[in-house]
């Protein structure tokens, strides 16, 4: 009994030791700075540290540029995520029908944009969307344009295209794994009953894959906030109004050392993301319980 207890304690200790670096890293680099940011967001300055309640939040919510940034970010998320997942699911479904070797090759090809350095991706998109770039040359064949994609509302289109292109491969892999997880017997049974491809997708694939779908949705949602890096390099810190995101707002305030405002906006954005992710998890649990 004593020996068993000792072994268990030792196992627990080694477990703690293994997770300690990760826990410490999260604590030191994420949780503690976040907690400090929360504290800063209720003060009138990092130096004076005078408590001002929700004043910073009230200012922030009333700030027109912040409102525009939040609106653009929401618009981007609303446009990019469904488009990304629709494209990725279609590609995954097409991939499923291919021969195994072709499937493996295409999977690698799809993942390419993810491993490419951002700078070269941006350079490629600059060539693509420049006023005398490939897209405009193509459009001129139909007597359209040239369109200034970089400095007009079309910049939004360019950014959504970039985001979908860059993240599509990853989602294709996830969707492919999702499709593989559906037992083949279900399809065979459905075929015997005369179900078509769309009916199979709607009544078998999607309901069975709901846990995967939630996961993909959450990943896509979180990734959509990372599109700023590309937007920043491609369009600069003051892009066209249509693609001015929350991250632009935060980054530009960082330049003028307005940390109180940065903290308030970071906490606000975190709260919204956290609530949405929480809602998605809740919906997933409800679905699981119901089915």
């Amino acid at each position: 009994m004593k020996v068993q207890g000792k072994i268990q304690r030792r196992k627990a200790l080694s477990g703690i030791l293994f997770v300690a670096p990760a826990v410490m890293g999260t604590l030191v680099f994420f949780l503690v700075p976040f907690f400090i940011s929360v504290c800063y967001s209720f003060t009138n300055g990092i130096a004076s540290k005078q408590f001002v309640g929700l004043t910073n939040y009230r200012d922030l919510i009333g700030n027109k540029t912040f409102q525009m940034a939040v609106g653009n970010t929401a618009r981007f998320v609303a446009a990019a995520i469904p488009l990304l997942n629709a494209v990725a699911l279609t590609l995954a479904l097409l991939l499923k029908r291919l021969h195994r070797k072709a499937k493996d090759l295409l999977r690698s090809v799809y993942i390419f944009p993810l491993v490419l350095p951002v700078a070269s991706v941006v350079l490629f998109f600059e060539i693509l969307f420049h006023e005398s770039g490939i897209v405009n040359t193509f459009l001129q064949l139909f007597h359209v344009g040239p369109i200034d994609f970089m400095h007009s509302e079309y910049a939004f289109l360019a950014l959504v295209t970039l985001y979908v292109w860059k993240n599509c491969g990853y989602n294709v892999i996830l969707f492919a794994a999702m499709l593989e997880s559906v037992p083949k017997e279900y399809y065979e049974e459905a075929s015997l009953q005369g179900a078509g491809a769309i009916a199979k997708l709607w009544y078998i694939t999607l309901p069975v894959s709901v846990p995967y779908l939630f996961f993909i949705l959450i990943i896509s949602f979180v990734n959509s906030f990372k599109a700023f890096r590309e937007a920043y390099i491609l369009f600069g810190n003051y892009p066209d109004n249509s693609i001015y995101m929350v991250q632009h707002f935060i980054n530009n305030n960082f330049e003028s050392i307005n940390y109180v405002r940065i903290s308030a906006s970071a906490v606000l954005i975190f709260s919204v993301i956290f609530l949405i992710v929480l809602l998605l998890f809740y919906l997933q649990r409800q679905w699981n319980e119901r089915n």
Partner: protein, 465 residues
């Protein structure tokens, strides 16, 4: 579900109580005032409570090394009981040193740390100093300085402490400034059909340049090397795109004049730099040859900033041929651009010593050490004499050391100190936005109005964020 509901109710209660605690007074946005330029703000109350200690932390900005060393030395002699922590970032010869200073300073300020008194040019402290000033990072000491019996207001250049970006507050103190003058030779101007009496207004000045650009001779340039950039021309016209205090854009007629002026210079500005970094396509050398270049008609003007060596060289022109005028500004005043500032860190625990060090920096002896115009008028004379002691060598190799007469000296002092219109240097963010939006206009690809719309959009965001 019940649990989530409980949590939400708790969050709402906490938010409600925090909202109740928030006060209108603590809003970081500045109150809107009626005007900006050179408005003499009422002297505010001296309500700053300084923290006394026996320590002082200051950082040595590499490009102000000599001045800081001297000031620290004097401070130590004046306050021997104070322990001075003086951090060195290297010399001006090390090109990385100023960048390192800025990076460390900004990261420390963000953590509520850093030196007690920050002494540096505004751009070294923040990418937009006027915005940073509003964040409460620095202590408002205007009232303290103006109420201080040891600070004689008359000794300082007019308007020295009215350059406020935060209502009646002023969280920084200018230590030095620069004014830009145009030096020319009368004979050369006449030869090119430029009427000297019509150079004080930006519109007339632009017409003169336009005329010169049309008729210029090969191998001649408008002015000395490296002086074509938009950032060199724009601030000196007195045009400011952003009015921080009134939270508004100033894309008015003055701004348009400045843009039209730069459009004339754009082509020359875009000439690729030569191997030695100079942009001027016509002149092979500038340093030490301004006077000769003027009198030989190679340049129409020479641009001088502050009490710089251009004056020494310029003085070599034969008596009677010299023309000096401030760079034409919309207000017909001389634009004074702040060069170096001092601000007390609001997070400092040694604010009393920081304030004392600031008064040392403003003293005549220390102010004399500044290369650009010192804000202490009494120091201007010595600074000018020191600046003009540089020797000029003519074509034959003769060293010219014409002493500065009292009349000449008083003329220069008057030129540098009278009728000034104070400006902070244009923030990099603003100049980048202007460049991005207006370049199609400079290139004749879009009209001014088209570019202005784009500029308005971007600058509104910039100002609001």
């Amino acid at each position: 579900m019940k649990k989530i509901g409980m949590i939400l109710v708790a969050v709402l209660i906490v938010c409600g109580s925090l909202f109740a605690c928030s006060s209108e007074k603590a809003v970081s946005n500045p109150p809107v005032s009626d005007g900006k330029e050179n408005t003499v703000n009422p002297v505010p109350e001296d309500d700053v409570v300084l923290k006394s200690s026996n320590k002082l932390i200051v950082y040595r900005y590499p490009l102000l090394g000599e001045q800081m060393d001297y000031a620290v030395d004097r401070y130590k002699k004046q306050y021997p009981d104070v322990e001075v922590e003086y951090r060195d970032f290297g010399d001006a010869s090390d090109s990385n040193a100023p960048r390192q200073f800025s990076e460390i300073l900004r990261s420390e300020l963000s953590a509520g740390k850093g030196p007690d008194l920050i002494v540096a040019p505004p751009y070294a402290i923040s990418s937009d100093f006027a915005k940073t000033e509003k964040t409460g990072a620095f202590l408002d000491i205007r009232g303290k300085l103006l109420q201080d019996p040891e600070i004689q207001a008359d000794a300082f250049t007019d308007g020295w402490l009215t350059l406020s970006g935060v209502g009646e507050q002023q969280c920084f103190v200018p230590l030095s400034y620069a004014t830009r003058q145009l030096f020319a030779d009368q004979a050369v101007l006449e030869e090119n059909g430029v009427d000297i009496t019509k150079l004080s207004q930006p519109a007339d000045f632009r017409s003169a340049i336009e005329q010169w650009e049309k008729n210029k001779k090969a191998g001649t340039s408008l002015w000395n090397a490296n002086s074509y950039g938009l950032w060199l021309v724009l601030p000196w016209c007195g045009a400011e795109a952003v009015d921080y205090e009134n939270h508004a854009l100033r894309l008015d007629e003055n701004f348009r004049n400045a843009m039209e002026l730069y459009k004339l210079l754009y082509e020359d500005d875009m000439v690729k730099p030569q191997a030695d970094g100079w942009r001027d396509p016509y002149s092979t050398a500038f340093s030490g040859e301004a006077g000769r270049n003027l009198s030989q008609g190679m340049h129409l003007f020479v641009l001088g900033v502050g009490n710089s060596t251009e004056i020494t060289e310029f003085r070599a022109i034969d008596e009677g041929g010299r023309v000096i005028l401030p760079f034409p500004s919309s207000s017909e005043k001389t634009v004074a651009e702040v060069q170096d500032v001092a601000c007390i860190n609001a997070a400092s625990e040694n604010t009393e010593n920081a304030y004392r060090f600031l008064t040392v920096l403003l003293s005549e002896n220390v102010q004399e050490k500044w290369v650009s115009c010192p804000v202490n008028k009494n120091a201007m004379s010595s600074a000018l004499t020191a600046s003009l002691s540089a020797q000029y060598t003519d074509d034959a190799g003769n060293v010219l050391t014409t002493p500065l007469t009292a009349e000449e000296k008083s003329g220069y002092i008057s030129m540098f100190t009278k009728d000034l219109e104070w400006h902070l240097p244009m923030a990099n963010g603003v100049s980048d936005i202007i460049w991005g939006a207006m370049e199609p206009y400079f290139q004749d690809q879009k009209t001014y109005e088209e570019c202005l719309r784009e500029l308005e959009n971007r600058l509104t965001i910039y100002l609001d964020e």
